[in-house]
């Protein structure tokens, strides 16, 4: 009988092979299912996959400038740095021509990019361009381009500018990733540490991770009892408590910031109370804001609901009889909590922890407002390069690393806790 099923194809009553008939019957369902999710799929592609792809592309892309100075870069690659201190005449000539006849807007854009590799490129090229344009207008092409450029601006005789050009002569470059890790190229394109006085990114990465981990832990410590209370109070009290929990969401950033500062500053409420109680002396007032403490306090408060809500939704469905059962079976309340209640809240802790961590790692406005000298997290630098220096390559590299860090944490989490063990509600 079993042989019969496995070897000869089954037929429907009408004589069509069963598998084929089933496929036909299900095709319609599959199509319908696909059409239902298609708008979402499209939405995700447009709003998520494409931007991230664009970001990853931008983090290594250097084609714009290569389109502006193709000949210069070609000639540049022939320069033997061992033999000649400065590039050969051909490089100067190609640069002269490409500045003279290139499109002004494209050059402007290339300038912004060149300035990332060395400060000063921008004005160097701009002043030179003006001279070149004048010369071209008067139809006075120089005999020696090298001499012309150096006389236009003596920085053209400075080899460090020429060394810096080496960073951009290829269509794709890893330099932004190196920059994002406090590294740069030396004159021979070797990766070296950035000038000590400019090293900020590794420190900022560590600070950002540290603060995110601390905030997550504090949110857990503070949120757990609140969520437990919420889950076990009668409805009318828990609703009221829930409003208090959600209050930070409904308060404007500026009001919140002002409130924290009023509370935390040296002449503020908390220090005042501590001095009044005699716990602190008047000169021993604590610095609670405009530093890392302030950042931690403010971020913990604002992110607390993201911990409490998933915890609450998980705790609400843990039957009260479990704690009773554990005690009935001989476990002291602490043991019962530790072995029976706590493990059941892991999905909530995971969801809340992951949410808080992910949000914290990208936070930058609040920490900047209350963090003083410690308030610049990695998000600040992403925003800074996005808006102010327009160094979108570095921006993208920082973003890609951030994404990578998140994926590593996600992987670790999956290894340790298991991704099924996450529950948002």
């Amino acid at each position: 009988m079993e042989d019969c099923i496995s070897t000869s194809a089954l037929l429907t009553t009408d004589g069509v092979p069963l598998k084929q008939s089933l496929k036909k019957a299900e095709r319609k369902n599959k199509l319908r299912a696909f059409l239902l999710v298609f708008p979402l799929l499209l939405f995700i592609i447009v709003t998520f996959v494409m931007p991230i792809g664009d970001m990853l592309f931008r983090s290594v892309d250097d084609s714009q400038i290569n389109g502006v100075f193709p000949n210069t870069f070609n000639e540049y690659k022939k320069w033997d740095k061992e033999k000649d201190v400065l590039p050969p005449e051909e490089v100067y000539k190609a640069l002269f021509e490409e500045l003279a006849y290139g499109e002004k807007i494209q050059i402007g854009r290339a300038l912004t990019r060149m300035n990332y590799s060395k400060s000063g490129w921008k004005s160097l090229i701009k002043t030179t361009s003006r001279q070149i344009k004048k010369a071209v207008k008067k139809d006075e092409l120089p005999n020696n381009y090298k001499e012309f450029l150096i006389s236009a601006n003596e920085k053209w005789a400075d080899p460090t500018f020429w060394y810096a050009m080496g960073q951009m002569v290829n269509n794709t470059t890893p330099i932004y990733y190196w920059n994002a890790l406090d590294r740069t190229y030396d004159q021979d394109q070797n990766v070296v540490m950035q000038d000590e006085k400019r090293r900020i990114y590794i420190k900022t990465w560590i600070k950002t991770l540290k603060i995110s981990v601390y905030v997550t832990i504090f949110c857990l410590i503070l949120g757990f009892p609140v969520a437990h209370l919420l889950a076990n109070l009668p409805l009318r009290y828990s609703n009221l408590l829930m409003i208090f929990v959600l209050l930070p969401f409904w308060t404007s950033l500026l009001v919140r910031t002002t409130a924290w500062i009023v509370m935390l500053q040296q002449n503020g409420v908390i220090n005042g109370i501590l001095v009044w109680l005699g716990i602190l002396s008047d000169d021993g007032r604590l610095q609670l804001v405009y530093n890392e403490t302030g950042t931690l306090i403010a971020m913990t408060q604002i992110l607390l609901p993201f911990m409490i809500l998933p915890l609450y939704s998980v705790m609400r469905v843990i039957p009260k009889s479990h704690m009773r059962a554990a005690q009935n079976l001989g476990a002291k309340p602490a043991t019962a909590f530790w072995r029976v209640y706590l493990p059941q809240t892991i999905p909530g802790m995971s969801a809340g922890g992951l949410l808080v961590f992910v949000l914290a790692i990208g936070y930058f406005i609040t920490p900047e407002l209350v963090g003083g000298k410690d308030g610049k997290l990695i998000g600040h630098w992403i925003a800074y390069h996005l808006k102010t220096t327009l160094n979108w390559g570095l921006c993208a590299a920082l973003g890609a690393i951030l994404l990578g860090v998140m994926l590593i944490f996600y992987w670790l989490y999956n290894k340790i806790v298991g991704i099924d063990n996450i529950k948002l509600g």
């Binding site: 912004t112 400060s119 921008k122 701009k126 006085k197 407002l369 003083g372």
Partner: protein, 367 residues
Amino acid sequence: MSKFLKAFLFVSLVFAPFAASAVTVASWGGAYTESQQKAYADTYSDPGSIVFENYNGGLGEVRAQVESGNVTWDLVDVLPSDAITGCDEGLFEDISSEIASMGVPGPDGESIAEDMEANGLNYHSGWDCCVPQIFWTYVVFYDPDAFPGEKPDSMADFFDVEKFPGKRGIHTWADGIIQKALVADGVAPNAVPTVFANQTGAIDRAFEVMDKIKDHVVFWSAGSQPLELVKSGEVVMAVAYNGRVGAANLAEGENFEYIWEGQVLDQEYLCLTTGSPNREAALDFMMHASSPESQAEQAKYITYGPMRASGIPIIEANEPWGPGGVDIMPHMPNTPERLKVSIVNDPQWWSDNGAEISERYSAWMGN
């Protein structure tokens, strides 16, 4: 509910044509945009055609709009270094000829550029795409009650925590403070930009001066914070935007003193976005907003100075110019005698070196 809906539909239908042709100006918001609204838009021939929208500075959004071809901001209020970069990159349209031909001349026929040069400014490529707005400055201020005896009156005093003990409030970015540091080290204020541009090691020198007060600094990051810091006694002196100090003195009855020496004058421009959907109307409004009269008018509402030199005499001649019959000139940063002790920021140098210095400043601050 349906009544409300109908009313809403009606209103939107009636106003839709206007909304479409309105000139959208992206600006910084708050009291500053309010002053622009009153001084530029309300005095304009068609006030309803100007709509202000808030943004947080920088060229990121402008570049995104221009790159995507979906330009919604006709005009953008920017810092000078952004004016330069934006103009170089073609994010802002080169309208130098329009500015020359349409710009409202001063009482003696001064052009916009001449007026700005009279205020101590030098040409940069931002002038090709943008019209001037206001001078704002990083100024040190203090509460006189905090110093019963001798009062600080120079940058040297600000950087001397032995002579004037107490914390200082400084912002979390480099611009402004590193120039002040050189003044404290004996460089004449007017010479500071050239020292930075031409002397190697000038930046190191500034950081060495700042090292002296580093342990006595509370770093702030929002414009309202230095006022709070000084008011609450958290710091005894702070660097702030002069407009904030002026508002506290004029509107909140505070009695803060300025240290004008070493104030860092920075500029503010209104630029035309490339591909602006209302180019002609926007150009017309730009010229109105950059007239000496409009600029003087703005000083009524916020104590930033007109970037056109010919705006100042209008204020002087009509004092009390401020609200409620107060004199405004004591709060203006760019009077001739204050200009003598001021640093006029060099935006070209900042657009060259800004990124590097800002990284370096952060490293210094965090250590």
